[in-house]
């Protein structure tokens, strides 16, 4: 308070990067919900892998013998990891962003302090990336428990999953930053995320699709995320293919970031 601060206390000290200070807010908030969130992170893969991988998988394996040369559970698990990263990332990039802009206005609180729009965006993005790391790591641990890891490179499915998530997070943050209310989000789910979840090679190879749809699938980030994660977990992905998938995801995330910065600036600096 005024007058009580000694000069030494306000003297410059090695400073924390500003975006990390903004990230700290999300960590504070998470203190309140981490139990539920972590429980979901464990339950989700267990339920999906048990019901679809083992349950439905036994039928599939009985009739088809092998999808892409492996059991259905092995085929499905890495695809679901990528799809989960997409879902978690998309969720975190929608309502919390709208809340921080409009409802709880925590972005505005930050912008009254030394933090800038860039810091606010990077802090939030950084936090979501951290959440994706935990979600993907837990997913991979459960896949190990189900015995579906087939390659020494499987651990790389964690960064691959995070990258898949970020390829959705950044553009969706740009989208959320431009929304006046949350109606756009349900549309994004219905017409974007759910079709992607179902048709991007998570549950069956996209080669099952009509040719034109295969092309559409190829254009979506989830297709590349699924292919990359699956290739890393099952082994046998060539360096060329891995590079193409990675480059595509990095490009989408980078373009999304540039758009998000623009969208945030337009919304928050008036």
């Amino acid at each position: 308070m005024a007058g009580t601060v000694k000069a030494a206390e306000t003297a410059p000290h090695p400073s924390t990067p500003r975006w990390l200070r903004s990230l700290a807010y999300w960590a504070y908030q998470y203190k309140r919900t981490w139990r539920g969130s972590m429980t979901t992170s464990f339950l989700y893969p267990v339920l999906y892998l048990a019901a679809l991988g083992v349950g439905l998988g036994s039928l599939v394996d009985h009739h088809v013998h092998a999808v892409s040369g492996v059991s259905y559970l092995d085929f499905l698990a890495p695809g679901l990891l990528a799809a989960t990263a997409m879902q978690v990332g998309a969720n975190e990039a929608m309502y919390p962003v709208m809340d921080a802009i409009k409802w709880g206005r925590s972005y505005l609180a930050m912008l009254a302090t030394p933090l800038t729009v860039k810091d606010v965006l990077r802090g939030h993005l950084g936090w979501i990336a951290f959440r994706l790391v935990t979600v993907c790591a837990i997913y991979l641990a459960i896949m190990e428990a189900f015995g579906t890891l087939r390659s020494g490179l499987a651990v790389l499915a964690i960064p691959a999953g995070v990258l898949t998530g970020l390829a959705f997070v950044a553009p969706i943050m740009a989208f959320a930053g431009a929304q006046e209310n949350d109606r756009g989000f349900s549309a994004l789910y219905r017409f974007g995320l759910i079709p992607l979840f179902l048709f991007s090679g998570t549950f069956f190879p996209v080669t099952q699709l009509p040719r034109w749809l295969q092309f559409v699938a190829w254009l979506t980030p989830l297709y590349h995320g699924v292919a990359l994660c699956r290739g890393l977990v099952l082994g046998g992905i060539g360096p060329g293919a891995a590079a193409i998938h990675t480059a595509y995801l990095v490009a989408v995330a980078a373009i999304g970031y540039v758009l998000a910065e623009r969208s945030y600036r337009k919304r928050l600096v008036i």
Partner: protein, 310 residues
């Protein structure tokens, strides 16, 4: 004005939103230790001016220096040294009172121990110590406002900007808040306040500008403004169901100035009682009468022809 360089200096300051000009070329200078007010109705451009001073909104024209620096270039550095109480609270309702202070201190990169110390001190100051562990959600409007003020002080700002600090609060909560702000002033914190309450401006501001439609109509101490733009006293006449405008003609020559409002007539005079006697002598029988001292409300009415709170 206080000694040394002024903390805020504006020349021909303009804020535009597309075609709309919210702030239309204003000049002002706020000295260290001063408490400076922007008085005006909603939409006068007060908040736009505040947001520019707080380096949250880019200047559209003219020049602005805050703490001797350019907000365009040194926003983060300036914001490190000022506190903002925005018009609408931006508290995190789901976090506790204490956590709201702790996280805010982190934005300024203050050492945790220091934030903790200040948080305790500030909660004491705004009388919220007992609520430290409660969620903000459960606080009353006045308590939230006090918490926002405490939060803005975590960084020990040289300049505190308060945008409509007591709008929407009940009288008791307002008086408590005024008392806290008065104490801050006594400690030498520079205050910049916007308000559309003339009593608030009179209570809190040593110097103020009357703002209307993006421009300044007048500037001075509350006392000087009243002396310059109003008379010592005012006689208020109410005529019940009779339209005030119908009796206005009969009041001519009774006072230095006469304002006819929808619900009453105001007669400006240096001796209210004498004027009231003269009113009765003319055979007028108002339903109720009131003789009072002039206020900033009268200054505003005189300058703009409108009342502050409509």
């Amino acid at each position: 004005m206080a000694n040394g360089e002024p903390l805020v200096v504006a020349h021909g300051l303009v804020k535009r939103f597309g075609e709309f000009v919210a702030v239309d070329g204003v000049d002002f200078s706020i000295g260290r230790g001063e408490s400076y007010g922007f008085l005006g109705p909603n939409g006068a451009g007060k908040t736009s001016t505040m947001r520019m001073i707080a380096c949250m909104s880019p200047v559209s024209g003219g020049t602005l220096r805050v703490l001797g620096r350019d907000p365009d270039r040194d926003g983060p550095e300036i914001r490190r040294r000022i506190g903002l109480v925005p018009q609408e609270d931006t508290l995190d309702l789901e976090l506790t009172v204490l956590d709201n202070l702790l996280i805010y201190g982190r934005y300024f990169d203050l050492p945790r121990r220091l934030i903790r110390e200040r948080a305790d001190e500030l909660l004491e100051f705004v009388q919220l110590t007992e609520r430290a562990r409660d969620r903000v959600e459960s606080l009353s409007g006045g308590m939230k406002r006090r918490l926002t003020i405490a939060r803005s002080l975590v960084s020990d700002p040289e300049l505190l900007i308060l945008d409509e600090p007591t709008t929407g609060l009940d009288p008791q909560a307002r008086h408590l808040l005024w008392d806290r702000l008065y104490r801050l002033r006594r400690r030498g914190v520079t205050l910049v306040i916007t308000t559309h309450y003339m009593d608030e401006a009179e209570q809190l501001c040593e110097r103020l500008v009357v703002m209307d439609r993006g421009r300044f109509a007048a500037e001075g101490t509350p006392r000087d403004l009243i002396a310059e733009y109003s008379t010592r006293e005012v006689v208020e006449l109410r005529f019940g169901i009779t339209e005030p405008s119908r009796v206005a003609g009969q009041l001519e020559g009774l006072a230095q100035r006469c304002e006819v409002l929808p619900d009453r007539v105001l007669l400006y005079s240096d001796d209210g009682d004498a004027t009231l006697v003269a009113v009765h002598r003319r055979g007028l029988t108002p339903e109720s009468t009131l003789v009072r001292r002039s206020s900033l409300e009268d200054v505003f009415l005189h300058l703009t022809g409108r009342t502050l709170v409509e």
